[in-house]
Symmetry: C2
C-alpha cells in the first residue's frame, strides 16, 4: 500500500493537507439564476457533493469553501443541513483568483478570527467538480510535495484554434501536443501563497490558472497528472443533467429481495433474485411472518408510510406481483424485475407510495 | 427574411448544399462496446437524431453518412426503421480524415454507382452532435460561400497547456485568445476536395481538423462562427446521459387534458389545467361521453392497450384522481399534476399501463 499523502508529515500541530474550493461563480453559462454550485441535483446542492467528496478523505484536515458574500448564508445552511465537518466558509472576491487568494489568506493572516493552521500542501479544487476521487487527490498532493505544484490534465476533446483579427482562422494547434488543465491542483502552501502575493492586479482580475501563477512568480513547473474522465466541470445545463444521472446511478446499485418461507412466495423471490442479479447487486432474505393483503385502506397506508420515510430520502414504491398460472410466472417475474430496475434507476420521488402491478 | 443558403444557386441540376456525417468512430472513450453514434437514446440510435436534424432542412439535398464497414448493415436498418430520406451510406476509412475523404469522393468520382451531383457547398458535421440547429448550419454555409471555408467555434471551457518532455508544465495558453473548433463546418466543395487530394498520408492518418487542411493546401482561412452551447460532441458516457435528458425535455413539452361535461369531472379538469399550465403547455378539451369504471379487468385492458401503442412510441399511463371531499380536491389535483409532470419528464417505458393514484 502506498502511504497516504498526510502520513509523511509527523510534525505535531501542523495540518499536512487542506483544500480550498472556490465556489464563487455566478453560473452565467448555465443560463439560470441559480449559480451552478448551488443547483439541486437529486434534491441536494452540487457543492454539497463536492464537499462530501473532500471530507470523506481523512487526511484532508480543513476544507475552505469560498463563496460570494450574498451566498454565505445559503452555504451555512447547506453545511448544517448535510452535517458537513471541517468546513470553513470564506468570503470570495470578484474574480476566481481573488476568491482563491482569500481562501489561502485564512491560513496565513492573523486578521481572521477563524485562523487555521497553515498546511504543508493545499489542494485547490472547483466546487462544481463533484466526482473527484481520492486516487487523483492523493496523486496531485504527492506530486506537489515533490515538485512544488501539480495539476490534473485531460486530453483535449476539440482542436484548439487561434483566430486572426478578421474573425478568420489564423492557425490550429496540434492536438496531441496540448492538454486541458483541469482540477484538482495541489501546491506547497508557501509556493502558491507567495505567487498570489507577488502577482499583479491584472493577473488577479483576468487570469484563471493557478499553475500559471506558480510558474510565473515562483519558477515552479507543475507536475502534470493524467486524470480520469469524471473530473469534468459542471458548466452548462447539460452537465447538470449528466451529474444527476451519474448520482442516480451511484445511488442505485443494490436491491434486497425479502421473501416469505411460504413455498409459492419463496419461489417468486428466488426467480426475482435470479432475474435481477445479472443487472444489479441483489441480496435475498428469507423471513417468516411476512404477509400482505391489498385493499384500498392498505393503499392509503402505503402512501402515508412512503411520505413519512421520504423525509429520510428513502423512496418506497409498492409492487404487486400477480400470477394465476405457473406457466406465466417467469414472464410476470421478468416484468417485475423490469419495473424494479426502472424505479431504482429513475428514483422519481413523485411516484412514491404508488402500487404498481407486474 | 434572409435568403436560405440554397436559394442563391439557380443553376439547374446542381445540388447547392450537401452534408457529410463521419460516423465511423469506435467510441473507445465511452468505455463501451457500442460506438457512441449507435448508442440508443430513448430507444433510438444517436446517429438517427443527427440525420433527422439534417433532413429537416429542405435546402440540404444529400446527406452522406460514412460508417465503418462492419456497421453498414446497422446503418441501413436505422435508415429503414426511422424512414430517413436523402441519405447515402458510404464505407469509411481507418481514420476520421480518410472517412470524410471517402464521403466527398461520392460526389466527385465515377467509380461509385450511386454517383451524386456535386454540391457547391458541403457541410461536414459529426454524427455525435445531434442538437445542431438550422441557424448555425445556415451561417456556416453562407460564410463558406464567401470565404471558401467556415467552422463553428466555442469558448474554451478549460485552460489549455503544453507539457514539457518531463511531464511538467511548459506553458499555458491565454484562454481568451483561443477557441475550441467545433462542428458544423462548411466548405466550397472544390476547396475541401482539392485539400484532401493534396494532403499527405500523415495528414490523413494523424490529422483531425478539416479547417487546417483547407488552410494548409488551399490557402483558405476559414471564417470562424460562434456557435451555441448545444453543438457539443457526445464523447463520454456522461454526454449520453445529458443527451438523453435533453431529448426527454424536448419530447415533453405539452399535455392535453380531456374532460367530460359532467360538472364534477369538468371541475377536476379545469383545476388540473390551471395547475399544469404554469409548468407546461396544456390543451383543455371538453368532450361528451367519456366514462371509465375501474376494475381488475379494466387494469388488464389498460396494460394491453399501453403495450400496443408503445410500438408507436406512445407511452400510456393510467391515473386515478380520487377524492371524496371537496375540501381536499385542490390537494388531490396538485398531487395529480405532480404525477403527470413526473411521468412525462421521465418517459419511463417500463411504467406504461400502470394505474397510479393521485
Amino acid at each position: 500500500m502506498e502511504p497516504s499523502p498526510g502520513s509523511r508529515d509527523a510534525r505535531p500541530g501542523v495540518a499536512p493537507v487542506a483544500a480550498v474550493l472556490p465556489a464563487g461563480g455566478s453560473g452565467e453559462r448555465l443560463g439560470g439564476a441559480t449559480p451552478k454550485q448551488f443547483c439541486a441535483v437529486q434534491g441536494r446542492p452540487l457543492v454539497s457533493y463536492t464537499v462530501r467528496a473532500m471530507e470523506r478523505i481523512s487526511w484532508i484536515a480543513d476544507i475552505i469553501v469560498v463563496v460570494s458574500p450574498e451566498n454565505i448564508e445559503i452555504m451555512k445552511s447547506i453545511i448544517e443541513r448535510y452535517g458537513h465537518k471541517r468546513v470553513t466558509i470564506v468570503k470570495g472576491g470578484i474574480t476566481r483568483h481573488r476568491s482563491i487568494f482569500n481562501g489561502l489568506k485564512v491560513f496565513a493572516e492573523n486578521e481572521f478570527s477563524n485562523h487555521l493552521q497553515k498546511p504543508e500542501v493545499v489542494i485547490i479544487h472547483d466546487a462544481v467538480r463533484p466526482f473527484v476521487e481520492e486516487d487523483i487527490l492523493s496523486k496531485v498532493v504527492m506530486a506537489a510535495k515533490e515538485h512544488g505544484a501539480a495539476g490534473a490534465i485531460r486530453p483535449l476533446v476539440s482542436t484548439v484554434i487561434a483566430s486572426a483579427a478578421d474573425g478568420c482562422l489564423d492557425h490550429s494547434l496540434e492536438r496531441a501536443r496540448y492538454r486541458a488543465s483541469e482540477m484538482p491542483q495541489a501546491f506547497l502552501f508557501d509556493i502558491i501563497y507567495e505567487a498570489y502575493q507577488q502577482c499583479t492586479d491584472y493577473d488577479l482580475d483576468y487570469g484563471t490558472e493557478c499553475l500559471h501563477l506558480a510558474l510565473k512568480y515562483c519558477k515552479t513547473n507543475a507536475k502534470l497528472v493524467e486524470g480520469t474522465a469524471d473530473l469534468w466541470k459542471v458548466t452548462y445545463k447539460r452537465d447538470l443533467y449528466a451529474a444527476e444521472s451519474i448520482i442516480k446511478d451511484n445511488l442505485s446499485q443494490q436491491v434486497c429481495v425479502i421473501t416469505d418461507v411460504n413455498e409459492a412466495v419463496a419461489q417468486v423471490g428466488f426467480l426475482l433474485h435470479e432475474c435481477l442479479k445479472s443487472q444489479i447487486k441483489v441480496h435475498l432474505d428469507i423471513s417468516e411472518n411476512i404477509s400482505f393483503s391489498i385493499g384500498m385502506e392498505e393503499l392509503t397506508r402505503i402512501k402515508k408510510f412512503a411520505r413519512e420515510v421520504k423525509k429520510k430520502n428513502i423512496l418506497v414504491y409498492g409492487l404487486l406481483i400477480q400470477y394465476k398460472d405457473n406457466l406465466l410466472l417467469q414472464e410476470t417475474v421478468n416484468s417485475a424485475a423490469a419495473l424494479i430496475m426502472a424505479l431504482i434507476k429513475d428514483r422519481n420521488p413523485e411516484l412514491i407510495g404508488q402500487l404498481l402491478v407486474a
